[in-house]
Symmetry: C2
Subunit: 407 residues, 2 copies
């Protein structure tokens, strides 16, 4: 198929593009390179030495013989460019990764909140509006987040997007009716909120314009390499470890590798859903191969394979690596402890074979975190973006001026 990958220069979009290209699909990457500019803004950079998009594309051609195309375009701002591209290319499918995706970054300041809402809402809306405008029946696969769910009710498994409920009828009618509705949202940050807005946009365009849309409610990604990114050092994927973009498990791995305490927010009682990056690329493939029919409601898959409590993860990494664990203030405004049970039957039924944490962790510590450890900037590790004025940054006491380690 011909596939447009929006955000194809990013952490998920790059390996997904390579995987789809490797399968023989015609892949067009669209990205405005904003993520690279945010690296500059934050003075942080990928632990792995990622190459320019041009060098990446050229390396992949050399290694695989497949030609990726790259178009630099802002999906949120250059609507005319987007429509022209879609109308010209008439892609069978479009994978939409092109959003600001870090919760802490989205809470950093009023400007960051506003950028995240504006960029993500307009990016998603432009895509939907442009497909209708160009009269296309392109299947849209969007990367959403498990974080749209409110972490559920104790004793309930979070379903795949839609919740079965019973509603009581009023006089003069009697009894109850069964209904299915979008699972009620309870986002934990401005970033997560934008994914709840996306859901509403998708539901509307599926209903009014019969667009075919799949929304992947993805867990937190861990891991770095895929079969394709390993084929040449120039294809290496990004690895974010800074306090804004680094995701919890990859941060622990890096902290272990550089002898920094594993920073656990609050009591570490938060339970989260995870998925390895190799499974993510397979899931995107499976979703593309199983589109909804025209007129169907939005298809929602939970794209995760395991849930873990954060403090258990820290202890596991500590055990493997010999690192220490340190509890730090939680910069987020969230429940200290939560349970999480998630249904992910769709992907398992469609053949996904999960990479489990127990298998993959050690490899990641060795192949990525230790290998590139000399590139780390320790000052970028603490989470300094706070959710409200009442919260404090997640800085370990052992690293504050008073408790600073001697070098």
């Amino acid at each position: 198929m011909k596939i447009v990958v929006l955000g194809g220069d990013g952490f998920c979009g790059w390996p997904a593009s390579l995987h789809l290209s490797d399968l023989g699909h015609d892949v067009i990457i669209v990205d405005n390179l904003s993520r690279r500019r945010i690296d500059e803004e934050l003075g942080a950079s990928s632990l792995t030495p990622i190459r320019s998009i041009e060098e990446r594309v050229e390396a992949w051609r050399e290694v695989s013989g497949h030609q990726l195309r790259f178009v630099e375009l802002d999906v949120a701002q250059d609507y005319d460019g987007l429509v022209a591209l879609l109308a010209d290319e008439r892609p069978d499918s479009l994978v939409h990764f092109a959003e600001q995706r870090a919760a802490p970054y989205s809470m950093k300041s009023p400007g960051h909140k506003r950028y995240t809402v504006d960029n993500n809402t307009n990016a998603t809306h432009n895509v939907l509006c442009a497909l209708v405008d160009a009269g296309l029946d392109t299947h849209v696969v969007h990367l959403g987040t498990m974080g749209v769910y409110g972490y559920g009710t104790a004793g309930m498994k979070i379903p795949e997007g839609y919740l079965d409920v019973e509603v009581r009828l009023d006089e003069p009618a009697e009894g109850t009716v069964s209904q299915q509705m979008l699972y009620p949202t309870n986002p934990g940050s401005i970033y997560h909120l934008t994914k709840c807005l996306d859901q509403q946009l998708f539901a509307y365009y599926a209903k009014n314009d019969a667009l075919r849309i799949t929304d992947l409610h993805q867990g937190i990604i861990w891991g770095t390499h895929t079969d394709q990114t390993l084929r040449d050092e120039r294809l290496v994927n990004r690895f974010d470890y800074d306090g804004d973009y680094g995701t919890v498990l990859n941060r622990f791995l890096m902290q272990a590798a550089v002898g920094y305490p594993l920073t656990v927010h609050g009591t570490g009682g938060q339970t989260r859903a995870f998925i390895h990056i190799r499974d993510m690329v397979r899931c995107v493939q499976i979703a593309l191969e199983n589109p909804p029919s025209r007129g169907d409601r939005v298809k929602i898959f939970n794209q995760m394979t395991q849930t873990h409590r954060v403090r258990d993860l820290a202890e596991l990494v500590a055990r493997i690596s010999g690192a220490t664990v340190e509890l730090v203030p939680n910069p987020r405004h969230e429940a200290a402890e939560n349970d999480l049970h998630v249904s992910n039957d769709t992907f398992l039924d469609l053949g996904l074979e999960p990479t489990l944490l127990e298998e993959g962790l050690l490899v990641e510590v060795e192949d990525v975190a230790r290998r590139y450890a000399d590139r780390v900037d320790l000052d970028k590790i603490p989470c300094t973006s706070v959710w409200t004025k009442e919260q404090q940054p997640g800085v370990p006491v052992s690293r504050t001026p008073a408790g600073q380690k001697t070098a």
Copy 2:
């Protein structure tokens, strides 16, 4: 109290500002005058001869002795101006009318869809972000719409914002739990969709930042004058009758006055919720006097007093006025027939005494529609904005070139 009224030059915002000023509140109107520019874009104008905002403010000062202040500012685009204003004025309350509010206009073209999403989402988000930024505990009263509800389930009364449901638990737990959740949305246009996005923004800021927010799910307004706008011709409120901005009942009144057939879309089986403009200004007052407490969830009131089926309304107006009724194609993509039962106990309990259709209709036909009938541009009456390429404009056959009436 000191009250900022965003969108205070509009159809609802102007009479609400006068009503609040008349009660002795210190009212600051903020508006970017975009609605007046849209009149120019559409080549349509208010049936009533509305004056410039400066003339309005001056007339009100002469008539009432109260000084309104007016600030020209784009709430969606001039964030810095908005924060500065709020930080300076530290208002007790803010009423937010400043959105693009016409469903047909929001469906007119890709550009109109995008403008509506961008303007409304950023306007609402800027307000919330700015209040947190400025550290204010201002009570926000937002004008939402009954159209966020999916017109409900047969046999069920639409509750005020939150739905009681029973959710079944999964193994190993047993039985069901009762929950209350935001009523699931089912918007009928891009405009209505933006009000669903607003709901999510409100829920988030109430939770994360303890903002105090009331969301008024308002029915379709009918009527034009309030006690205050009647005090001087220069205070006259706008009356939209064109195919994009005119709301159904006011359009029927105007059609009756000028001898145009009452254009009923489809079978006219759509049931909608209504409220008179005098009751709207009272409701806004009541909402301001009954704010939620800090930390409460968003307070949601259904701001409507009666429901009517569109064809029944047309027949009622025809009976009063002698006009004819004509069925035209429905430009909207919507159910041909629906029931609607709505709970509006909160406002009734707080003392609202509804103006019923039966009492007010005749006055409106005489005092507004006939009085200004010579200002009408008949070409602006048909609804030409269509929901999808499959829909047709709502043009009466009797007015097409073939069936055109002789003058």
